[in-house]
Amino acid sequence: MTTLFYDGTFESLLSVVFEIYERKLTLVKLQKGKWYSTALFENKLNIITNEANTNRVLKGLRQKLSPSGLQQLYIAHLAEIENEEATLIGYIRYVFDSAQNIEEDYGNRYVLRVSEIVRMMRREKHRMEAFIRFQKLKDETFYATIEPDFNVLPLLIKHFRNRYADQKWIIYDTRRNYGVYYDLHDTQYINLDFSTISKAGDIKTTFTEDEGIYQSLWQNYFKSVNIPARKNIKLHVRHIPKRYWRHLTEKI
């Protein structure tokens, strides 16, 4: 068993694959980070991302997978689920070791697992697209915070750019502490420093005056459309799991 250390990016994952084939390794384990030791160990290796190697693997994947197959692999990587590197490596090896395109071979456990992870990611993405609630700041920016189970923010950009092309917005992942800002022209990744905002009152004053009114109108609307004769809380919670409630205007 050889342990390979890499930096967690997709590029570096592909470099890892290159080394595996180059060194003809069979049993490997991946770990994020670096191996700090000057001593040489047969079974521990730091993999440094190498553009040429990454591109060679990428080119190979492009030949053997459809664009959507490659996209799925990327999404599965983005999920950052712990200890799933073996799945990704297993999947890529299966791609290269098979003569035909394998992306729909759900009888294979790696293919099946990747499709499961992709399904989980897509579900979380859809939930975010539905459950994000913006609040309007004084400078006309619409601001939302999220805490998704998986790292889906990069997958959300396209949807929100298309939808809110004429308003500035920020979506901030407070669990992973980074966000996306759209300034009417472009989007960029940002970090916010929350330590300067000390009291809850400070935050309130940064919202526009009618923000509170629209929030309470929405809460009222949500109450009005309920039909008590049909009440079914179990179903309600299945649709909106409780962990999402704290970000939902109508559930606060």
């Binding site: 009888g107 949807h159 109108l217 809380i233």
Partner: protein
């Protein structure tokens, strides 16, 4: 903005609109190409009510004043309730501000009839027009057409709205006569016919000229109330089938009657909402639209009512045991779709996956097949399969015994299918 006044209006006019169950915001392809606000193609549910229904659109009445007196409707003339009316601008502002905060996919606007049909329809159209032209709003707009409104107004409505609907309300003409004496079925069918022709015409134009205007790109739908009148499921589904076929409807919605009014023509106030029946009707509707079932395979003269204990697909399978068992590794997609416990997605996955090698129970399970149901109807790459010559009643018993709790849990949702 007078917050209290708007809040009161919203409470009254959202409350009055909530019995219209359609909430879909999908099926349109309106894009945000003018760097405006929004797009309409996703059909997102932004929230769910405590009764588990999708909240996708701001669904309100423009007013609940009405000159008609339909027995099943809370807004009817003779009902003693608070009345309110939004101004055109108020509806526009609410829609835009809710949309910008990602609360909704768009607007579903309906109205009681004040003065006359055209006067009412004109205002609905004006709101849609303002949203589209003044605010560059590309979100979803569903307008309810007022029966009896002029063709010109219907035409204009189609230019701004994504979907238009004319509610049939009662599945048969006789039922309608009894409960809504002011309405006549012809007034509902005529606009549907008009819309169908216009929609087809514009689709043809669109094929020839990319720049041709869109006309109700998400088509038209209708709603029927279930359980207010004594129609059988056969009558309900045949009527739905008739409208799907003849008017190119996108959806028929079935709304279990919620007893809100005391009237001796209607079920008593303490009658419960027929939710299981409503769910079965949606499942049957699904079978007709996506699973290739004909209406008389689901309900017919021998079997005019849907089985409330089990879903209509299982019910069909049990009545047609001679079709089974089906070999999962060989059968056509169309046949696989008819197996209880296998949905559209699983069926497609099975067909893709089996080209790499024959599938066994374990793999079928992973592809999302509900084995506890499907096992009585299929064979696969395994020596183990149901060998006993079970009768339909026995199979039904086995499945019900196994899934009793699950069945109860799911019985209220229209989307837990098979």
């Amino acid at each position: 903005m007078n917050a209290d006044r708007i809040t009161e209006k919203l409470n009254i006019l959202a409350d009055a609109a909530k019995y219209d169950v359609s909430c879909a915001s999908s099926g349109s392809k309106r894009k945000n190409e003018n760097k405006g606000l929004g797009n309409a193609s996703n059909g997102i549910c932004h929230s769910y009510t405590e009764d588990g229904r999708c909240v996708s659109l701001l669904k309100i009445l423009l007013t609940n004043h009405c000159i008609y007196d339909c027995a099943y409707c809370v807004s009817r003339k003779s009902n003693d309730i608070k009345r309110a009316a939004f101004t055109v601008q108020e509806v526009v502002d609410l829609t835009i501000n809710f949309y910008r905060r990602n609360y909704i996919e768009g607007l579903f606007l309906s109205s009681g009839i004040f003065k006359d049909a055209d006067y009412t329809m004109e205002r609905l159209v004006l709101i849609a027009k303002k949203l589209r032209t003044e605010h560059k709003f590309n979100g979803y707009i569903h307008l309810k057409s007022i029966p009896g409104a002029s063709d010109e107004l219907m035409h204009e409505a189609g230019l701004y709205a994504d979907r238009l609907s004319v509610n049939l309300e009662i599945p048969t003409e006789a039922g309608l006569k009894l409960l809504a004496p002011d309405k006549n079925r012809q007034d509902m069918i005529e606009p549907m016919q008009y819309l169908k022709n216009e929609i087809v015409l514009h689709q043809e134009e669109k094929k020839l000229f990319k720049k041709a205007p869109m006309f109700a790109p998400a088509g038209q739908s209708t709603q029927v109330i279930i359980g207010a009148t004594p129609e059988t499921d056969q009558q309900v589904l045949q009527s739905a089938n008739y409208f799907y076929r003849n008017f190119n409807l996108k959806r028929v919605y079935y709304s279990g009657y919620v007893p809100v009014l005391a009237d001796n023509r209607l079920p008593a106030l303490n009658t419960s909402v027929p939710m299981v029946r409503e769910n079965r009707l949606y499942q049957a509707d699904w079978l007709m639209r996506f699973y290739g079932f004909k209406v008389n395979e689901i309900v017919n003269n021998e079997q005019p009512l849907l089985d409330l204990d089990i879903d209509p697909k299982l019910s069909w399978a049990i009545r047609n045991l001679h079709v089974f068992p089906i070999d999962i590794n060989k059968a056509d997609l169309q046949l696989i779709l008819r197996i209880p416990g296998i949905g559209v997605q699983s069926a497609q996955k099975i067909v893709s996956a089996r080209s790499y090698g024959h599938l066994n129970w374990e793999q079928l399970k992973k592809l999302g097949v509900a084995i506890n149901r499907a096992q009585y109807f299929i064979t696969c790459k395994s020596r183990e399969f149901e060998r006993r010559d079970l009768t339909g009643t026995k199979i039904k018993q086995f499945i019900l015994a196994q899934s009793a709790s699950k069945y109860l849990k799911n019985s209220h949702t229209q989307f837990s299918l098979f």
